[in-house]
Amino acid sequence: MTYTFDFWPVLERWPLLLKGTLVTLELTLITTALGILLGSVGAVLRTGGPRPVRAFVAVYVEVIRNTPLLIQAYFLIFGLASAGLRLPILFGAALALTINVAAYTTEIVRAGIESIHRGQTEAAECLGLSRLQVYLHVIIRPALERVYPSLASQYVLLMLFSSIVSAVGVDELFGMANRIQSDTFRNFEVFVVVGAIYLVLSVVVRFGFWLVGQALFPRRRKLGTAL
């Protein structure tokens, strides 16, 4: 091995790395909130909506889950641009990521909803809860609680895959990595540093999910396990 590593030119550009990291976190945060919201709505419609709506959600989920995110992002962002609709690039990227992750979330939450025992909703109806109350407190919340570990893994993946939107020109962490590469030609060092940052970010996202879970699901906190 004759290669001499030189990390200094990369580390020296830490403001770029910091900025990229913040954009990645911002994208992840927005997309996670929207993804879980839309995914939960999707799961409810998929299990209890009118027949045409159920079919529509099913098609949406299958199309998204069986095509690559990169193609979806190109299709959406370049497509809308060619139709004369020029979205701010960060907005377009967040839209593409949300459409993608909401499909996976729909599938995960659907599994949670289907695991809720019929007797639970019947009991809630007997107690005189409104339809909305039944959905919110007896179906969606316990369903999310049961599938929470899968959701956390899915959103760690989302954070990692958000690096793909650098391909449409978003200056998130990987986009900044590309810039630093062309400045310094220290390709390998750039990937080592950026890989380490992503590793830390994935721990951060996991920890964030754990914290939110503690606040959202007190029963889980007391029992130490899901129901």
Partner: protein, 215 residues
């Protein structure tokens, strides 16, 4: 729609399939080692295997593509082709996920089977190859087929850092020339779907059958 461009998409699809198969082969071999390492009786081996999984699952595939592309020349192997770089990156990436899937399948084989094998005086290797793995394979087939879909989709990332001429890469090039993103990215998406959807369905069908069989 220009027939030359459509043909070029099919050309890209062929390269996607080639990269996917190579990934399955090498990623599967490393993944098997990772799965066995995760349940090894030796603590250091288990630690190495689980650290490997933690690291790979915490890094984006794009970064691994960078390692696959620039790593070999640093290790003194000279420059590698785009296909070789993509295969290295995809195999490392998939091995961590396959390893974790297969560990679950190995551990899903009922405990008495492990104990009975031990009581019969089989060696560790015999126990794995004759008793446990044949039963684990049946459990592993549905999720393994399902993961094939992930691999095919993930090969699209090889168009970025290493510039391997697979389906997404060709679609991008065509779009740069024609500025018809809805047409060509749409067509590329349909091609991906036509390959991935049957595999997804197959995986689901086999899973249902397995659940019925073991009930």
């Amino acid at each position: 729609m220009n027939p030359v461009f459509v043909l070029s998409l099919f050309d890209g699809l062929l390269n996607t399939v080639i990269l996917s198969l190579l990934t399955y082969l090498f990623g599967g071999l490393v993944g098997l080692a990772v799965a066995l390492g995760r349940i090894s009786p030796s603590k250091p081996v288990r630690l190495v295997a689980s650290t490997y999984i933690q690291i790979i699952q915490g890094i984006p595939l794009l970064v691994l593509m960078g390692f696959g592309f620039f790593g070999p020349s640093i290790l003194g192997f000279g420059n590698v082709s785009a296909l070789a770089a993509a295969t290295i990156a995809m195999s490392i990436y998939s091995s961590a996920y396959l390893g974790e899937i297969w560990r679950g399948c190995l551990q899903a084989v009922a405990k008495p089977q492990w104990e009975a094998a031990e009581c019969l005086g089989l060696s560790r290797v015999q126990r794995m190859t004759r008793i446990i793995i044949p039963q684990a394979v049946r459990i592993a087939i549905p999720p393994t087929v399902g993961f094939m879909v992930q691999i095919i989709k993930n090969t699209s990332v090889a168009s970025l850092v290493v510039g391997y001429g697979e389906l997404t890469y060709n679609a991008k090039i065509i779009n740069n020339a024609t500025f018809q993103p809805f047409v060509y990215f749409g067509l590329a998406g349909i091609l991906y779907f036509l390959v991935c959807y049957p595999l997804s369905e197959l995986s689901r069908m086999m899973e249902r059958r397995l659940n019925v069989a073991s009930r």
